[in-house]
Symmetry: C2
């Protein structure tokens, strides 16, 4: 087992455990629980696979479970209330602990519920998708979607720990595995060119679920994520670079209806947009853009946008991105392969050129 640390320079710092067989290590979980009451939040896909194992580790606690339907379309205030129902129906106190057992949707919702219940209870992330293990479970961004914008309602709220058991990826379907790789590739593109090289060489191994390759990719991703979050917990600067491809991607997710694209798929397409726009600004070469498209294709990710979204829709949806100031659109671009820009104010004509001209 590897142990990394998200060092926030304060008492909110916490460990990330990465390895095999971690779900069977009861002590790893129990050492982070300081209460008798534990609510496990999971979904209808993950709970049948792993809920009993987690509960078996907590036989002497008052454990309850809140099981949500599976999918981005359920990441709403309405379904968040189901978690509060579970906490209140069982009379859970402010010293209770919430465990989020699932992918990014469950982690974001569980974390946000923990942030809000009685103005804040402890929570633990047990991510069960590659995407959640390498990205969303680390760093304390929690929240739900709104019909008009992705992740628009939420909180910065850090977990007590993250337990990333690579074994759970055995039950992940191929589409979800690829979606996770989109965020893995992101780290290479924004700040880790050496990792980008490694990924280009090792994508076949990752897709073949080679354990050592996956473990390395998770660890290296988490190291990158922990460094960035440690530097800028509340996204006043460099943390925004983790949003490469996300402004376009969120527009695609919202515009095509939550749940149609997986988050990682939309990020892959969005990153191709960002690469194109970076090329138009003279920052990337045609060859760089081709390399980015190639690596996403090699990961079995989509690189062309939905056929039915208009330029106007993108502009409209991107106008509520969290990086914007006074309603002006800002995006993260690439200054080079392995180096992201801070948020860039985008000239609408340049943006429209990318939106109109991009053809994958």
């Amino acid at each position: 087992m590897k142990e990394l640390r998200v060092d926030l320079g304060n008492q909110r710092s916490y460990p990330i455990y990465i390895g095999s067989g971690l779900l069977q290590q009861a002590d790893l979980l129990r050492r982070h629980i300081r209460s008798k009451q534990v609510l496990v939040v999971s979904n209808e896909t993950v709970a049948p696979l792993y809920l009993n194992q987690v509960l078996a580790n907590l036989a002497d606690y008052q454990t309850e479970a809140a099981i949500l339907p599976d999918g981005e379309q359920y990441k709403t205030l309405h379904y968040l209330e189901k978690i509060f129902d579970g906490l209140l129906a069982n009379k859970f106190s402010r010293n209770a602990t919430l465990i989020a057992l699932g992918g990014g949707v469950i982690g974001d919702m569980g974390g946000f519920a923990a942030a809000c219940y009685q103005r804040g209870i402890a929570f633990i992330q047990i991510p069960t998708t590659l995407l959640a293990q390498v990205d969303s479970s680390v760093g304390g961004k929690t929240g739900v979607n709104h019909a008009l914008g992705k992740n628009m309602i939420g909180a910065f709220y850090q977990p007590q720990c993250v337990i990333a058991d690579a074994d759970v990826l055995d039950t992940l379907d191929d589409r979800q595995l690829s979606a996770g790789l989109a965020e893995v590739i992101k780290y290479g593109l924004i700040r880790d060119p050496e990792f980008l090289h490694w990924l280009e060489a090792n994508l076949p191994n990752l897709l073949a679920r080679d354990k050592a390759a996956l473990a390395y990719a998770i660890e290296r991703s988490c190291i990158n994520k922990a460094e960035v979050v440690g530097e800028d917990e509340f996204e006043s600067g460099v943390r925004a670079t983790l949003n490469l491809g996300h402004t376009f991607g969120h527009a695609i997710e919202t515009g095509s209806g939550y749940g149609h694209y997986l988050h990682g798929e939309a990020v892959a397409i969005g990153t191709c947009f960002a690469a194109d726009l970076s090329r138009r600004l003279g920052w990337l070469l045609d060859a760089d853009v081709a390399r980015i498209i190639a690596i996403f294709k090699a990961a079995n990710l989509p690189v062309t946008p939905p056929a039915d979204m208009t330029t106007e829709q993108y502009v409209d949806l991107m106008a509520v991105d969290k990086k914007n100031v006074d309603g002006k659109i800002r995006v993260i671009l690439l200054e080079a392969l392995g180096k992201a820009s801070l948020p860039v104010n985008i000239d609408l004509a340049q943006l429209q050129a990318t939106l109109n001209g991009y053809a994958g």
Copy 2:
């Protein structure tokens, strides 16, 4: 105008302005707004009276308003979503400012919406009820109710400033004025015996809306509140004493249906419960309890509980109070007139004796 400061020892510290004609002082408001976009959250009672005045101060901003129905029964996640609708429909960015113009419900909901929108935007409290001016607008407790418990979903989130214009109390109805006095009296009971004396002598002046008396009561209440919050922002200790009467009071509000009692009315009844329990523990004399009941009666506040709530209902509802640990009920009691206890673990038999025996 008086200016107090909530000193939290960090950048979240902020001023409270108390005085007459403050709503007409555009600069007071404008100096705390660092964006072009401003959403005013208010309700159907307050907006017709004061919204135009607030907007007139902000003629050169992009201003929008979200108007909610008036009442505790609308302090829910469902109506919170209306505020997010207003922010998103107008494409408000993370640097936007939210102004809460109203009583405690609007302040709590507006503050919570500000805490969650894009994971946090700036907000300003303009309290328009006595209760909000002396208590709920100060200290950063925000949130909404759940069918199973009052204020169960929320955040600690501090405003940029609080603007308490005593003139707005001219339009407050008598019942709301009395409800506010319940929290004013609370400060006397928990930590300011001299103020308690002053209140006993001056209640007739306050009920007659004597401007000088009201201004003094607001200021002295805010000084007390600011001191306690400055000492313990996140309620790990002394701040819980502000909850005197609230554990019983919240149970009455939830049990009798939100909106039936005003919050201050439920707190008055709840404080009589707490006084009775304090007497049973040998901390208060019969004469002390009589004095507490007398002062609430003099403020035209109820001192007897709803006829139709059972002991079992109280115990059930109090089991989800935020002060509880592992589901065990804890309440704030009075060690003497002017001195509150920290949360006390309550023996169920003692509690039931109070619940059964209390007759006003």
